[in-house]
Amino acid sequence: MTAAAHLRAAAIAAAAFLTAAPACLAAPSAGARVSLASSLRASGEYSLASLEYRRLAADLDPGDPSLPGLFLAAADSYLAGGEFTRMGRMIDAAEDCATAVPGESRGDISAAALYLRLRRAEGLRDWPSAAGYAEELAREAPEAATWASCKAAAFHVRSGDLASAKAAVADDPDRAAAVDGLASATRKSPRLGGILGIVPGLGYAYSGEYGNMFRSMFLNGIFGWAMFECADHDRWGLFSITAFFELTWYTGSIYGGIDAAHRYNRSLDAAAAESVEPQGRPRLVRDAALDFFSLRLEF
């Protein structure tokens, strides 16, 4: 058994013990179970941490003000584990519960939910949706406005919408200049890259990938030479094998020319997005001011 398997078994045993203790022991408090979930998360057991939050939610009656916070905590743990589908379900559940709780007694989870939706879309590389959530977060949560606006600009840059990106950081001259720089940057044409790729390696060279160019030229040259040598000596069995490989390298050169141009353009976008990205990142913390479980954004 590996150390990770031991840890997982211990976590499962602890979860079972805390919630299914024999009658001679007092039932664990909700605080202890939240601590258990936090410990599981800290040790990298993200799914189990989410499960503990969900089990805790299942213990509560519908309409309990802690429900939205617990579902958001589960979503946050799924985010850490990269489980975006389950994360989306948890955010939906949190929002559904929040609408069912009377307004007076529920925490304001909208900023936390929007933040998690933003992070989910970012994880899924759904840049337009991520930009939309960032803009909504900037409107909904004044304390997050600057951070969210910069994130919105970065997402717009990644999705190629430079006008919206510039509008999002209009108040920040440095970031606006970075967006302007991207607009004036020379982009590579994937079509031209593909056409140049007909000459093995040239498509890579067009996008500045000279190492790839030499490798492509070498492989095409050696297999092309072997192919013709085999044909010259009437060794048609070997010819068909070398021709198969040569065809693969040759079509790879054309495809690579196109993909290299896309890679070049993407790296331009990524560099510009990096320069407009905000410093730091908020985190979700428990709102200690409330007597029920709720999360809030902390910068």
């Binding site: 693969t248 079509t251 790879g252």
Partner: protein, 178 residues
Amino acid sequence: MALAALLLALAAGPGATAAQDARVARHLALARELAEEGADAEAALVIGCLAAEGALDADAAECRPASQDAGDASVAAPPAPPEGQPGAVRRMATLPARAIVAFYRKFVGPAIGARCVLEPSCSRYFLEACRRHGLLGFPMIADRFVREPPESHSDRLVRRPDGTWRHADPVSDHDWWF
């Protein structure tokens, strides 16, 4: 899915209060959700905790084949084909790719060991590319072989089940423009 049917087969123990019944029902619903999400082990954990509490009648916790549970439409329905399943033509096109990968995995891979620093590995990338795009998978894998580390090794690291870290280089990074 079979586990979902099992969960439905479990019944609350006698003498439980209405509040306890409601709580057990919520936990069973959670277990069913988890089973639908494909997390069978987590669903089993939820059920195990209920059983350990004595909230479930242990005699009722017997495994029953999913086909016997006529009340659960989701169990009775035939499984939907996975998203993006290739058609017959594309499956044919992946035959040479599968043959090459099978040869590599049987004769070459064991000799040289796991050397790929990318995730997915080149063989899985090749199969995935062919599954998605048929014969276009060949130029895609040729391009991956030719690419030097700065173009292949993204900043995104992926942790594999064996605990090692690899550079993420999924097919989706190279076919989004198709």
